[in-house]
């Protein structure tokens, strides 16, 4: 589904044509590749490109929110060998589906962003690692690459300059862990996607042991727009320390699930209104504001928040990838957590003991509470497991598995206690997930 709504759209400004507007000629007609041309023909220095990104306060759109300009400046300047630019399109964080639409409706914006990144960091080769389950999007991206090669935007001496750059797509095959940047690098090298210990960071030891910078798809797609409008103008679209606009994937109990582009700092209430409000007019119970790893926030608290990195962090959660999972009063907090815990158990790569054993342990406990077999000390047990996983693993998957558990228990402790004491759910079975509309059709 194409874009459903936007305020001051940038990255989605070319989506109007839907599946008919993604080709190179359409992108060029919208002003595409002009920034690449400008950078190369006017010989804008790599330092100036990076300075513009720093001024824009573009923060990584994959989840961590690290400033992109700063990240690019970490790449060694006078390195004698190969350097790489890698795009992380392994979008598998439950609730997130923005990069899929970005590559589907405007793949050339990602390509242009990656070429400019190569120029700014002195890399001659890039890879876009694409989520396994979206084969049609991978195919389209390959076609877009062919178009860019044929038009001379990729290859040797691009647009008559001394800059040469090759770009390829790599198709994942189903492993959430490869969304972690060093797991992704291992996978790109043809191995199991088990994350590497950091340091060394990818900027010094990345793909094939060479300096590498990895950014999210949306981050690359924003680059040409930022260069066009200038860093400060981009920053001012959002709010201080939270530059620009961001894509939000809204899923769950809203009338119009889909992607929305809004300036950072826009109230959540406005986003909910754009998404058509609550399905069936039911009451908002809770929201996971940044993908399944982000701690849940109760509905009434969420209605007072703005959608930006700092506001959501202050409320005890994270903006993450911008995946907003909206849940109404028919959802049982225990059942919701049970499904998420199963996901992390299933996707743990098995490398670190606290995560490998801890995710299974947490799932089994939440599962028995949900199924009327909870024990009186189970909540105490769960809250003693989470701090023994967090910060004790090589990558953030351990934290990502523990945060939902502590978040749900923090805000919905009484529901867990009710389950344990009464061996049943607080939300009657026939009401539970009534909002799914699978059997009733979307109007109910």
């Amino acid at each position: 589904m194409a874009l459903l709504g936007a305020i001051n759209p940038l990255m989605t400004s070319g989506w109007a044509g839907g599946d008919a507007g993604w080709r190179l000629k359409d992108y060029v007609a919208r002003g595409g590749y002009e920034m690449l041309r400008k950078v190369l023909t006017e010989k804008v220095s790599p330092d100036d490109v990076i300075a513009t990104l720093k001024a824009s306060v573009l923060r990584g759109r994959g989840g961590a929110g690290f400033p992109t300009g700063l990240k690019w400046s970490f790449m060694p300047k006078n390195f004698p060998g190969d350097k790489y630019v890698v795009c992380n399109s392994d979008e598998g964080e439950p609730g997130t589906f923005k990069d899929r639409d970005l590559m589907r409706f405007d793949p050339h914006s990602v390509i242009e962003g990656m070429i400019i990144a190569g120029y700014a960091m002195g890399a001659a080769r890039g890879y876009n690692y694409i989520h396994g389950e979206i084969f049609d999007v991978y195919q389209r991206f390959e076609e877009a690459l062919d178009e860019a090669r044929a038009a001379g935007f990729l290859g040797s001496n691009i647009l008559g300059s001394s800059f040469s750059y090759e770009l390829f797509a790599h198709h994942g095959y189903g492993a959430y862990i490869c969304g972690e940047e060093t797991g992704l690098l291992e996978s790109l090298e043809g191995k199991k996607g088990q994350p590497r210990f950091k340091p060394p960071f990818p900027a010094s030891y990345g793909l094939y042991g060479k300096p590498t910078t990895i950014n999210n798809t949306e981050t690359f797609a924003a680059v040409p727009f930022i260069l066009r409008m200038g860093g400060e103008a981009y920053l001012n679209m959002g709010k201080p320390n939270n530059g620009g606009t961001k894509l939000f994937s809204v899923s769950g109990h809203v009338n119009k699930p889909g992607n929305y582009e809004i300036p950072l700092g826009t109230p959540f209430a406005k986003l909910l209104e754009m998404a058509g409000g609550m399905r069936g007019g039911r009451k908002l119970k809770m929201v996971i504001p940044g993908g399944s790893s982000a701690p849940v926030i109760p509905g009434e608290m969420m209605m007072d928040l703005t959608m930006d990195y700092d506001a959501i962090a202050k409320a005890g959660s994270m903006l993450g990838s911008g995946a907003v999972i909206v849940m109404d009063e028919t959802v049982c907090a225990v059942k919701a957590l049970e499904r998420l815990s199963y996901f992390y158990f299933e996707e743990s790569c098995g490398q670190c003991t606290p995560c490998r054993e801890g995710t299974g342990w947490m799932y089994r406990i939440v599962h028995r509470i949900e199924n009327g077999e909870g024990r009186p000390d189970d909540l105490e047990l769960l809250t003693s497991i989470t701090p023994n996983i967090m910060g004790r693993t090589i990558c953030a998957l351990g934290d990502a598995a523990a945060m939902p558990v502590s978040g749900f228990i923090k805000h919905y402790r009484s529901e867990f206690e009710y389950h344990i004491e009464n061996k049943r759910c607080l939300v009657p079975r026939d009401v539970q997930w009534a909002g799914s509309t699978f059997y009733t059709g979307p109007s109910c």
Binding site: I134, F135, K191, K192, A336
Partner: protein, 157 residues
């Protein structure tokens, strides 16, 4: 052995990586081999290993790590239904129940006529289109209402 056309496709993948990094093409090579053979048995894995100059165990490690590779035979149509939370909120879990009942199989089972294998998916990355299903790792089906599911199963002869 893999067919000429599969090997050609693998060559195209190998060309994407630096000459000394053929191993980077192993994921694509396994996917291509699986498309040809239906699933990955030990001989196919050995064949990919030989072609890329890798140890068979290193290829097996990759094949067993990523969950879209099938190390056991599957039906002609592999249906993967996403039941993760964002999808379940919009009918993903109900859709899986519906398919199970319709086909008379549970997850990881194949129908007696060998037509369908049912799998539970972990985030296909299309939560806004829920319920979603993936057919044979390639075709994403969105907004799968009972009627749409009936139609899909009818189509898959």
């Amino acid at each position: 052995m893999l067919s000429e056309s599969s090997l050609k496709k693998i060559d195209r993948e190998v060309a994407k990586y630096p000459a000394a990094q053929k191993q980077s093409a192993v994921m694509a090579a396994l996917a291509i081999a699986q498309d040809e053979k239906g699933w990955l048995d030990k001989d196919t894995i050995a064949c990919v290993a030989d072609y890329l100059g890798m140890a068979p165990v290193a290829v097996y490690e990759v094949a067993s790590f990523y969950n879209m590779y099938d190390l056991e035979p599957v039906g002609k149509y592999k249906l993967t239904v996403c039941t993760n939370l964002p999808c379940a909120l919009s009918g993903g879990a109900h859709a899986a129940e519906y398919v199970k009942e319709k086909l008379g199989v549970d997850f990881n089972q194949t129908t007696a006529d060998g037509r369908f294998t049912l799998k539970e998916g972990e985030c296909l990355g299309a939560c806004g289109d829920a319920p979603v299903m993936l057919v044979n790792n390639k075709r994403m089906c969105s907004f799968m209402t009972p009627m749409q599911i009936d139609k899909l199963i009818e189509e898959c002869k």
